[in-house]
Amino acid sequence: MNLASIIDRHDGDRIALIDGELRLSYGELRQRVDAVRARLHEAGVGIDDPLAILAGNEINFAVTMLAGLGLGARIVPVRPSSPLPELERKLASVRPKLLCLGEAGAWIAESNVEIGIPTMDLGVQVESGPPPAVVDRDPDDLAFLMLTSGVASDAKVAMLSHGNLAWAQDAILHRGELGLQADDISLGVLPFSHIFGLNLVLLATLKVGGAVVLQRRFDENESLRLIKEFGISTLAGAPPMWQRWSQADGPDDAMASVRHASSGAAALPLAVFEAVRDRFGIEVAEGYGLTETSPIVTWSRGIKVKPTSVGKVIEGAQVVLVEPDGTPVDVGDTGEVVVRSPGVFKGYLDSPGLTDAVLTDDGWFWTGDVGVFDDDGYLYLVDRIKDVVIVSGFNVYPSEVEGVLMQHPLVRGAVVVGEEDLDTGETVVAHVLGEVDSSELHEYARANLSRYKCPTSYRFVDELPVAPTGKLIRRELRS
């Protein structure tokens, strides 16, 4: 097998990718991939070589990725907006054979920065010889090295195989009307450097023979225009995107063509779910997954959507909620989400210690997320285990405290972290965005939270660390 072959069987005239004025058919896509495969081969890229691609959601990203996979290389998608020091650090951890630069990565070539890695400008057309054949790969052979977001101390590179990604694609295809179809048109706005956009939007749509409309830079008004113009049927976004779409300029029937709307990467606030439903008449189905699970674990496509739930476990995956010692929790109780599926990754690159902390010999991946199932088998997520603040032995989930503080009319944002405390072990500290008196806020917290969950200190800040996916980066506020 080889993930590069997903585009082989489709009718050559069908449209695969749309980027601005350019409509690329599957036939043309195959030609371009062949040409770049030849070029990469001449540049010395071969089996198991890490191949970094610094590009946005552009055609050359898809082409170079498929070309590299065809050679058996391990693709390293790099977020083009990464600041240079972060970029250098991440590249150093994977030591790529070659760094391919798309339009969004051209600044590297232009800035004369010395990064010590050979680069290839994808914007330049080069004549190459005939392409080598696509190499056959075992399902366990590595296909991607995914750079997970993380500071220097905990940056991790997740190793995903051809089999991992293929399973996740198949999990959302091939399920009759529930799955992605060949006539689906997806909006490619989630970054392809992230597993959600990469596997469940770009690769899955190409595999089924659908079309991906590329949106290189997020702009909510432009999204609505593209959705209406191309009749987007499958729309996947992160919560901040959904929030901005719900308020974007455009007609209220802009999403009339959307058959399936999904959200992932962070919790979708109920207010956003309701705003989208009220304006566009569609219910955003939340899913759940991690880079380490390729990413799909649960989804809500084709089933009744329950707001704030991430849906049901997808066929082929097993999810158990456990106590820290591995004992399954009582029915209906919360526990750490532990996953076993063919999508579970092969470990972190060069980090056996980190791998051993999350992955067992028999294939259970401990996600670090706390969740609970309802009586119908829908999963609801609570928080990240490592963010839990332990006050006098009691667990305080920052998301709950943040949720309460956010309900105060004068609070625009809140991040809650734990700090060491001599008496209680840890104590709850709130970082708050908003013009509100701390004693008033404390009264409010006392009225709505158990005493041990109430912040003991409030720090007013001008901005809060939020990742592009909508996740709060609490670690940046821990002292």
Binding site: D330, D361, S392
Partner: protein
């Protein structure tokens, strides 16, 4: 102190409705308040009418005597069906409000929950130990979520209860109860699940249960540990927090995962008083070696 005021509440649909139960229960209450120095705080939090879930900490077998005896209304709880096979217990326990539930069947938990719900739906008090079993470590353990589900299902408040002194009355290795000791029973304010979030959100049960346990820890003065009470625990020792686990858990744990910290013995633990000789109850009077079925 004098036996506090009490309303018997006949409940024809529940066990213990007969005259024997009425006098039997009254006698046990009288006896408790004569033989022990029982102090009760917060009894005004028990509603005069209507349902409520009584949720005490659980340290000794005799908790099932002292908490009911401290209540101003009759209370029911679920106990093992096996008690009905023993002549010593088959009359006394139902009279004390125990509803026998057969634990052998596959649907035992559901049967227990349904029985509990019927008690509450009838506007009565129902007692359940949220820890599920006696705390052999003497810490307050993580609560099971059954009481919270019951609260959501029957729209009943939970009344947290923290008591002290029962362990001295009847330590685990002692068959009888030592008299003339002080037992303190503290009732907290009723807690309503709606005050903690949407009762239809499955996340509510852990939130609400933890809030109840926190209140119990304040009322009992116990240190809380976030693991379930287990039979291998011993005073000051929580077996699940030890590195060496005897039983292999069903889901394997990553080898590189840091293990939970060990819990040390609380500093303020008071030594157990030795029971004065000749002041124990007769063997067959009260022997509530009943771990009430956990939620």
């Amino acid at each position: 102190m004098a036996t506090p005021a009490f309303r018997f509440e006949a409940a024809p649909e529940l066990p213990g409705a007969d005259r024997v139960s009425k006098y039997g229960f009254g006698a046990v209450r009288q006896l408790v308040h004569r033989l022990w120095d029982v102090t009760i705080e917060g009894v005004e939090h028990i509603p005069a009418n209507g349902p409520a879930i009584i949720a005490p900490n659980h340290l000794s077998f005799c908790d099932s005597v002292f908490v009911p005896a401290a209540l101003p209304r009759r209370v029911w709880a679920i106990g093992k069906g096996e008690y009905m096979d023993d002549w010593k217990t088959k009359h006394l326990f139902p009279a004390m409000g125990m509803i026998p539930v057969d634990r052998s069947g596959g649907d035992a938990a559901k049967a227990a929950l349904d029985t509990a719900a019927s008690v509450l739906d009838g506007g009565r008090l129902f007692m359940i130990y949220p820890e599920g079993t006696r705390s052999r470590s003497e810490f307050l353990h993580k609560g099971r979520t059954g009481a919270s589900r019951l609260a959501a299902r029957t729209s009943s408040p939970i009344i947290p209860v923290g008591h002290k002194g029962t362990l001295e009355v009847q330590p685990p290795d002692q068959f009888t109860m030592s008299t003339r000791l002080h037992v303190q029973v503290n009732f907290g304010e009723p807690m309503y699940i709606e005050d903690f979030g949407d009762p239809n959100d499955p996340r509510i049960h852990r939130t609400f249960t933890d809030a109840v346990m926190f209140r119990i820890s304040e009322l009992s003065g116990q240190t809380y540990v976030d693991t379930y009470a287990a039979k291998d625990d011993s005073p000051g020792f929580v077996s699940s927090l030890e590195d060496e686990r005897q039983a292999r858990p069903p889901i394997s744990v990553p080898t590189g995962r840091p293990t939970a910290p060990k819990i040390s013995s609380p500093k303020a633990r008071t030594p157990k008083p030795v029971a004065p000789k000749g002041q124990t109850l007769a063997d067959n009077v009260i022997d509530l070696r009943s771990d009430v079925i956990s939620s």
